[in-house]
């Protein structure tokens, strides 16, 4: 009987079984950011501990950085304090930091891959739930809390319980205008926001195999929104080609040896899965969320559910409709938006910006819409500017910002105001997520956000994509 990638990586990284029955797991890469680490460093100081493996640790700043005015000290003194304390901690403990002015700065889940830090077969931990993103490379990537950040800093290990593996096979060709984001939103809608608890999701099937690394990252990124702490794709030629030449990737003969090891870490053909699910991508339409969790979504051609039709979920649907101010049965297409946000670790990589720019080119943002593009990293920003994407967005009336988490969460100056409705390429539509306690978030692909920005309302991007093909 073969093994899954998860089992292989788990076995290779097991130090021992702890008295509690948990596994002591070696962590191959620890990514650190400003928000979930200060208390962990304080705990180290209090107990006189060092950082165990500074060579396996890398830090950056993303959550609270302003994306417009970045001069120091920040106007926001709390933000200034957090950044300054990460700088101090990294200096004191000897950790590499891609700080605010570093050419490598960006959202932690965007820079790990683009620097080649993220590699197949690794265990990766970061004090952030979207660490699952790195699973796109065939790594086992775990989101952790601050006390666990302390554990990894001090011991390079985590105490973990084993996971089951659910294989999700996606098959068929995606139509133009339909993206990885639509696939993962559909998966979450089908399996539920708590459906993945206790599981790692292995994404497989020809649709996933055809996807670029950027697209696989979008898929793995949102595993946690389906309750799965870990999501991964088996490494293949697409993975290896992506890694080749990246700053922290092995070079020359070492790369060839790495490739052989990476290939061997993939799930065996005869691996046993605890569960198996199949999804047909050919029938996939663009998806939009209408509610207050990422599972509450419909195809853009669909309607918001009615409380009555929701059965046992009636209470949750009524609550979500109440918060969102939508009427059950309303079509989602045509819903007015106030803000359009293209960014976040789900969809702020170069390919996302290219797709959105393709929709925007030659159009203007609707007059009542505030639109912004926030590249995921300083490097994405530079590459986009070299291609002139920034100009396309600016000409259309978008703001073009510096790299950071921005309006994905309410921790920096970019926030919704009052009950604004935001078409967002991010990953969470929780109540208050985008910084206003009454703000409303509709999740969708970056191309759908671009289309909504131009139309001023939710619209099926497939119409615009078709228009381009004819032109």
């Amino acid at each position: 009987m073969g093994k899954t990638l998860l089992q292989k990586v788990w076995d290779l990284h097991t130090v021992r079984t702890l008295p509690t029955g948990q596994t002591q797991l070696f962590i191959g890469l620890h990514l650190v950011h400003e928000v979930t680490s200060p208390q962990a460093f304080d705990a180290l100081r209090a107990r006189g501990w060092r950082v165990a493996r500074t060579d396996r640790t890398f830090a950056t700043v993303d959550h609270i950085v302003p994306t417009r005015e970045r001069a120091r000290p920040f106007l926001d003194l709390l933000a200034e304090d957090m950044i300054a304390s990460l700088e101090r901690n990294c200096r004191e403990f000897g950790i590499r930091l891609a700080g605010l002015d570093d050419s490598r700065q960006g959202i932690v889940h965007v820079i790990g891959p683009e620097l080649g830090l993220t590699q197949p077969g690794m265990t990766i931990a970061c004090g952030d739930s979207h660490t699952s993103t790195h699973g796109a490379f065939g790594a086992v990537a775990l989101g952790i809390g601050t006390s666990q950040v302390r554990d990894v800093l001090a011991s390079q290990c985590l105490a973990m319980e084993p996971m089951k593996v659910r294989r999700i096979r996606v098959t068929g060709l995606l139509s133009p205008g339909v993206y990885a984001k639509d696939v993962i939103l559909s998966i979450i809608n089908r399996l539920g926001v708590g459906g993945g608890v206790g599981y790692a999701y292995e994404y497989a099937g020809d649709t996933i195999e055809r996807m670029s690394m950027d697209e696989r990252m979008t898929i793995c990124n949102m595993s946690i929104e389906g309750g799965a702490r870990v999501g991964y794709v088996n490494p293949d030629e697409t993975t290896f080609q992506y890694l080749k030449g990246r700053p922290f990737a092995p070079e020359g003969e070492a790369f060839d040896r790495a490739r052989a090891w990476w290939q061997a870490i993939a799930s065996d053909r005869d691996a046993r899965y605890d569960d198996d699910v199949v999804l047909r991508a050919g029938e996939q339409a663009p998806v939009v969320t209408w509610g207050v969790n990422p599972g509450q979504s419909v195809p853009v051609t669909g309607r918001v559910p009615t409380e009555r039709a929701a059965g046992s979920d009636a209470k949750a649907v009524a609550d979500a409709l109440g918060y969102m101010g939508f009427k059950g049965g309303e079509p989602v297409a045509g819903m007015k938006i106030d803000v359009a946000f293209i960014g976040s670790c789900t969809n702020s990589r170069l390919s996302d910006l290219r797709e959105a720019a393709r929709i925007v080119r030659g159009h203007r943002v609707a007059p009542h819409v505030n639109a912004l593009v926030v590249p995921g990293s300083a490097s994405v920003k530079r590459a986009a500017e070299q291609e002139g994407l920034d100009q396309i967005f600016r000409d259309a009336g978008f703001e073009w910002r510096g790299a950071g988490c921005s309006m994905c969460l309410g921790m920096n100056p970019d926030k919704l105001v009052g009950p604004q409705v935001c078409a967002s390429s991010s990953n969470r539509n929780f109540k208050g997520r985008q910084g206003s306690p009454t703000g409303r978030t509709l999740l969708m692909s970056p191309a759908m956000v671009a289309a909504a920005a131009v139309a001023g309302e939710i619209t099926d991007v497939r119409g615009l994509v078709a228009e381009q093909v004819e032109a």
Binding site: L18, P19, F26, M122, G143, Q148, S155, R257, L409, R433
Partner: protein
Amino acid sequence: MGAQKIARIEGTALPMRGDDVDTDRIIPARFLRSVTFDGLEDHLFEDERAGAAGAAASRHPFDNPQYRGASIVLVNRNFGCGSSREHAPQALQRWGIRAVLGESFSEIFFGNSLMIGLACVTAAPEHVRELMTRVEAQPAVRLRLDLQAGTCTLDGFSCPIALPAHARDALTTGAWDTTGLLLERYEEVDAVGQRLPYVTGFQGRA
């Protein structure tokens, strides 16, 4: 490093109804802008508490005077989903909560709670419903959670509660503060690092 042993938790309870209560609701992100966890309890469920101010009947459970002093929260399914912020269990604990009893928990929330000695235990949905109903009818009733025996008892009612063996052992033996445990045999950690080719730079034969 020895931590407090947590085998029994007794106190009044507070029902927090609804599935999929996410950590952004428990503690909105703007309160994470601090280098300590101090004072988080003042902002627990802040946005929805503000929204529910007013008539006593519709008041948020955390603002309802009859639940003041509660040390156990009763919740439904998938509690604590979303962000990995430890600030969520920290805020609950600092408010005075010592255990969360519900149908199910998000994994990261569960792990974060365990790391700080906040017990998360599960019970069957019908038992959670029964407990909520009883507490709402009689807020002064005291619940007794026995982690070893796996029971929740109160006047006139008792039901089984569960938590994974590792979590039960960790709490009841005081081994929930893991760093010391993980540091115990650092040579073995080093040995694992030495045999991982990516740690040694893919030198020699893989």
